[in-house]
Subunit: 347 residues, 4 copies
């Protein structure tokens, strides 16, 4: 519909053709509702296999904000809060969904969207050693995203350190994987799905931005968080009547490595695009190797690109420069990337 080529986000198109095909094939089948159908069961089983563990609870929700608030509210008592980087999605971009469930988001300074084990430890110790700690929200969960909102990723060492500090102090570690595929297939990534399932208490595998029409697969390893989780999905409005739509999508994504294959496609095209920006000498706002490119451009060049290309404006850097975001995705067409790189070279 758009007359420009859009690079502004990773949810501009529908779903991967194989998903559409499966949805069509199964369309008139009859199944029970609310995620208790065989497709959800099969998808959950494939995800457990991909994570290398049989004891994981897997649930399917529709979208990211919904998933974040459901997981967090299921985990916390009323006096507890969730630590997250100040730039974290739940802190700045979900209209206070977590607070609307009654919990404070406890922002801590991050570096390129990431928080360190040291920061978490400091936050916990500062709470517990405060003379009037009962006057302060008790940290009980750590929320991270991987990739982060700035496209950066955690190394295995960093995630291991976070996991250790969380478990030392009784904090749940929750990883928002809305773009998980684009993190796990980045050239500089050393994490696996198994690592994440082992190191986190709960995380989710994003479908909306990685090939699905919609859908996020929540994976829970901590026993306490498994208890009664379906009540929370229903209460927060996330229990899809035709739950099989989620099952069918994740079943397809986790068949024949599709989830990772289409993620790698996005990464390859992002690298191509990155090369073009680099050749022109544009500096990055943040360096990363995932599907989001945060680059600083002269306003005149931006305006020139705007004629044919959509991007996401982030913020003004100085009088004549702006930081913007270009995204690739599973759906990005190579010819479109070529058109953009050519346009960049002409600037």
């Amino acid at each position: 519909m758009s007359d420009k080529i859009l690079f502004q986000c990773d949810y501009n198109e529908g779903a991967h053709p194989k998903i559409m095909e499966r949805l069509l094939e199964t369309n008139m089948e009859q199944t029970v509702g609310y995620g208790e159908d065989p497709y959800c069961a099969r998808a959950a089983e494939k995800i457990r296999q991909a994570c290398g563990r049989e004891d994981l609870a897997v649930h399917f929700l529709v979208g990211g904000t919904q998933t974040n608030m459901t997981v967090i509210d299921a985990a916390l008592r009323s006096h507890q809060g969730v630590l997250c980087a100040e730039t974290g999605h739940i802190n700045v971009h979900e209209t206070g969904a977590v607070e609307a469930c009654g919990h404070k988001v406890l922002g801590v300074p991050g570096t390129d969207g990431k928080i360190t084990a040291d920061r978490v430890e400091a936050a916990w110790l500062s709470h517990i050693h405060n003379d009037s700690f009962e006057h302060i929200v008790q940290p009980k969960m750590v929320y991270i995203s991987n990739p982060t909102e700035l496209g950066t990723i955690y190394s295995r060492e960093e995630l291991t350190a976070l996991s250790k500090v969380c478990h030392r102090y009784g904090l749940y570690l929750f990883l928002d994987g809305a773009r998980l595929g684009y993190g796990l297939t980045a050239p500089d990534n050393d994490l696996t799905l198994e690592d994440i399932a082992r190191l986190c208490d709960v995380f989710y595998i994003g479908g909306t931005k990685v090939g699905a029409l919609f859908g996020e697969a929540v994976v829970i390893s901590h026993e306490e968080l498994k208890r009664d989780f379906r009540y929370f999905i229903k209460q927060k409005g996330g229990m899809l009547a035709k739950g099989r739509l989620l099952g069918i999508q994740f079943d397809t994504l986790f068949t024949d490595d599709l989830y990772f294959e289409i993620s790698r496609h996005a990464i390859r095209l992002a690298e191509k695009l990155r090369a073009a920006f680099e050749r022109k000498g544009y500096p990055y706002l943040v360096e990363n190797r995932t599907n989001q490119i945060f680059v600083i451009l002269p306003d005149a060049d931006l305006e020139a690109l705007s004629e044919d290309f959509g991007y996401c404006y982030d913020h003004r850097v100085d009088e004549s420069h702006s930081a913007v975001r270009f995204c690739t995705s599973w759906a990005t067409r190579e010819e479109n990337v070529d058109a953009l790189t050519n346009a960049i070279f002409k600037l």
Copy 2:
């Protein structure tokens, strides 16, 4: 997938083939997200036309519980509650979603799932004349569903009376139309979409149970309720990233009268099924002419039917009888209804 023929609810299948076709056709188009795409705009415009008014705000959400809690929380301040029949969906079947937003559901006795203007007036007067009214939740909204959870419908006279009493006392009138198509096409219905848009302050047109994969179209006529509504959609997790999926579905449903045509199909088959039960002399739990049939059967007969057919068990009536629900929908196949009526005749 199921080896039985399912009549237990109206969300056992996917979507109407015309919707699937449109989703496929548009799948790789690029649009902006969050419901700000041209498909949503077009669907909203068609709904405004169907309601005969240009001043309506139309928003698309994913599911019913989500829609109810979003509308109600957007309408009420913290000390206010929503009146509803004791059997109302928000009171008994949404895991306390409204309470989780901080508002009390004020159950009032209903008749076959409906509440009357008199009941609403009595509730309001009893509140306001109470010496310690500030110790009691203030009623501010009336929630009804049409058809109700028991398949009954409001007449134009009843809805007009409710609307009058609500507006006399400053209460918002909210109609949950999860099955609206099946109400408006029932043989004994005298309400139109225009009536509903005129008499209610906010209502929604259900897609999930009437031909869509998912989706509910919220229609707001009251100015106060229009304000900032999108913030609430986002906060409650109902803002679909690929919002166009909702626009495309409702655009299709409101093209060439499809929504009503497929609703009439369900009603015709329900009438056929009803005739079979009546011929056998089974009494109704509740009488209605919509797509849900609440009938009381001897347990032995139920067991016989169970071999080949799925239905929804409601409750035990006496030692040897149970109340159950059979549903038809836009997707019900005539041959399946014939199979069921034959089985009924053989009982």
Copy 3:
């Protein structure tokens, strides 16, 4: 200040003179705040002794609604609700304080303000055996009051049965003792403080209505409910800066049996008043032997009494009769009761 003699409630006066005396004596002493002073410690110790157990956590809050919402919110996760009689204070007279914390109050039919073990069991079984139980709020706590809002009391047998059924199904039993003194000193009571501490998981001893300026002492026996309770007191606004005011009051009330002595005074005067109503043949709305008398009077007689006496109007019974409440308290003067009984005799 009032020119009538007030019998409408049990909080028309200040505090017992011994309490005022202690507050004066200690007024300019310096102590730390927030309930961590020696007076609170001493009062808690005396309450533990009165309950016959050393392992009880005791906390002091300011008022009843605050205490109810704090205890309930500390006990429940978001998807859980609290069972209570439909007439229960939290269900009808606290402006939705519990719902404002996100929890549904699950009203069950009571008898004279009380709920039975059978009702609780039925509610639990009906929840757990429901096919779609996750769509329904999970009962997790039972709230009762003793005396109830209608002045009735639980027998040891009834409370034992409730306690058993609660513990069988993992429900917390919470007893609101806003008027506990008037229940434990009623002529037909067979419960002791020890019984209550043993049978309930948490309860409170009301001070506001029994001799104190204000204050409720929460007593917790269940280990899970003890955890982090002070955070909840603070979050709900119940942590009094000069917490010692609560400690001093309860220390005084639990010295030399004062709490029970002044309760017995109220009961004796209530019995005297009851005798007068009975002599005139007025029927009770509800029979009880505590400090609240619910009696049905001809409107003409009520009007006559209104000239000199305050009472609480409850509801119209028929065209010429009304149900009203007369209360005695620790502060009621015998001469005032005599004046009222004389006026009754003259009707």
Copy 4:
């Protein structure tokens, strides 16, 4: 009770003797409950006079956290938040009471505990100009305290600027006056109660820290905030049964200028103490002229003082220095200040 002389806060003692006297005198009077008695009416009238306006709504609550959450929840819809300095009491010291009501506290950088009109304007503009503003909590109220948590005060010019920017953008301005007396009587203050009533939409006059046993008087000038306010007081647990206790206290405080007279006493002694610290050359953490002194001391000196004096430890400044707080209050005895200053001189 304490064996040290306490300077750690301004709520270590009971109430001003005149208040105790009035509570004793009126103790056995009968009045109606919940703040509808003549004492509350009289106190409200005196506060209106002190504010120079007849159209103000005045309500009495018990404590500060309770007051903050009640005012804020009464003012905001679910998608709205409250801007406040990052060091603001509601942001860091009330166990997430505002979030527990569903609202995000939007911390903005402050200077010595204060926020400027410019910061507020920037926050509003940044919200409204954001492309996806509906994904972000909408600022709707500005919370300030005067004096702030750091003892600093707003000048008339600063408060006027804040008021203007708030009203330009439709934000409510709320001033937490827990220590208002100590601000209005500071040597460098140029604000009056009339100014505050004119410039703010709602504020409160703190009693707990300025002469009362407990109690905060909320003063509302904005019509929208007046509506239904008593429902919120009740729902949040702040409606004292024996509400007259609050009326009597504020009636006394606002008779013969008592509130300001006792505030001046605290200020005079704080100045005396300040002089001692200055003579020793100790630097301030924050400079102010109210009743809280934030000073940086060598740890050895602190330890020496600790033997006889209580203070509030704030934080470690470097390896051998700490920031601490000393408070005076209406109750501080001159001889105790002399003892402390002598001890300081001896360091």
